[in-house]
C-alpha cells in the first residue's frame, strides 16, 4: 500500500493551493472554488486517517467525510447565492469592491 504520509502530503499541498487561491484571487467565485479545494484536502485527510487506523471497521472517517459533503454543498449554495445577490445590487463580483462593512 501507498504510505500514509503521501496522502497527507497531497492533502497538505491541496490545502495550501486552496489557501493561496482564497488569499489572492479577486473574483468571489474563484475564492469559493478555492474553498472547495481546501474542503477536499480535509476530506482526503479524514479518509486517509480512517483507512490507516488499526481498525477501519469503525467508519467514523467516512461518515465525517459525508457530513463535509453536506456542509460543502450548503456552503456553495448559500455562498454563490450571496455572490449573485451582491452582483445584482453592486454590479461586481470582485471581492475587494464589496466594502460596505469595512469601516
Amino acid at each position: 500500500m501507498v504510505p500514509l504520509w503521501l496522502y497527507l502530503a497531497v492533502a497538505a499541498a491541496l490545502f495550501s493551493i486552496g489557501m493561496f487561491g482564497v488569499l489572492t484571487r479577486r473574483n468571489a467565485i474563484a475564492i469559493l472554488m478555492s474553498i472547495e479545494l481546501m474542503l477536499n484536502a480535509v476530506n482526503i485527510n479524514l479518509v486517509a486517517f480512517w483507512r490507516y487506523q488499526e481498525n477501519p471497521a469503525n467508519l467514523s472517517g467516512q461518515v465525517f467525510a459525508i457530513f463535509v459533503f453536506v456542509v460543502a454543498a450548503a456552503e456553495a449554495a448559500v455562498g454563490l447565492a450571496l455572490i449573485i445577490s451582491i452582483y445584482r445590487n453592486r454590479q461586481s463580483v470582485i471581492a475587494e469592491d464589496v466594502d460596505v462593512m469595512k469601516w
Binding site: 491541496l14 484571487r25 473574483n27 467565485i29 472554488m33 476530506n43 477501519p56 461518515v63 449554495a77 447565492a81
Partner: protein, 189 residues
C-alpha cells in the same frame, strides 16, 4: 514502483495540477473545468483508499452537483473569460503564506509519522502494512446502519437535513427575492 503507487501518483497529479490551474487560470469557465478535474482526482484517491462509495459520492455530489452549480454561477456573471487582473495586489504575500503553511504542515506530518513507528518514513511500506487493518467487506451496509443508529450518527443525520433545508430556503430567498424581500432590501439600502 507498484501499480498502486503509480495510480496514486497519477491521481495526485490530477488533483494538484487541477487545483493549481483553478487558482491561476484567468478564464473562470476553464477554472471551473479544472476544478472538476481536481475533484475527480480526489474521487480516485478515495477509491484507492478503499472507500469506493465515497469516491462515487464525490463524483455525484461534487462534480455532478456542486461544480455544476459553480459553473452556472460563473456563467451568470459577466466578463469571465479574460479577467483583467485575477489576483489582488498582495498576491506575493498570499503565495508566501501558502508556501510557509505547506512547509509547516509537512513538518507537522513528519514527527507524527515517526511517532507511529515509521522511522524511515520516506521509504516505507513499514507504517502501512503494520498498522492498517482490513476494511469491512460490507462497508456501505455498516455506513447505512450507523447513519440512522440513535447511538451513533442519528443526530448529525437529522441535522444535515435541517442544514440542507436552511441552505435551500436561504439561498432561494437571496437569489429570488419576492416582493416583500425586495422592499426590505431597498429599505436597508
Amino acid at each position: 514502483m507498484t501499480v498502486e503507487l503509480l495510480v496514486f501518483l497519477i491521481l495526485s497529479a490530477l488533483t494538484l495540477g487541477g487545483g493549481m490551474l483553478v487558482v491561476t487560470t484567468r478564464n473562470l469557465f476553464h477554472a471551473g473545468l479544472y476544478l472538476m478535474i481536481s475533484l475527480f482526482g480526489v474521487a480516485g484517491l478515495f477509491v484507492l483508499l478503499t472507500a469506493p462509495f465515497l469516491g462515487v459520492v464525490q463524483v455525484i455530489v461534487y462534480i455532478g452537483a456542486i461544480a455544476i452549480l459553480i459553473m452556472l454561477a460563473i456563467m451568470l456573471s459577466p466578463n469571465i473569460t479574460n479577467l483583467p487582473n485575477p489576483f489582488t495586489a498582495q498576491w506575493p504575500v498570499g503565495a508566501a503564506l501558502a508556501v510557509i503553511f505547506f512547509v509547516m504542515l509537512i513538518t507537522v506530518v513528519t514527527p507524527v509519522m515517526n511517532e507511529l513507528g515509521a522511522d524511515d518514513w520516506v521509504n516505507s511500506d513499514q507504517l502501512t502494512v503494520d498498522t492498517a487493518g482490513d476494511v469491512p467487506a460490507d462497508g456501505i451496509a455498516t455506513l447505512g446502519e450507523e447513519l440512522v443508529d440513535p447511538h451513533k450518527y442519528m443526530l448529525p443525520f437529522e441535522v444535515a437535513s435541517v442544514l440542507l433545508m436552511a441552505a435551500m430556503i436561504g439561498a432561494v430567498l437571496l437569489v429570488h427575492p419576492g416582493k416583500q424581500a425586495e422592499d426590505v432590501i431597498e429599505d436597508v439600502a
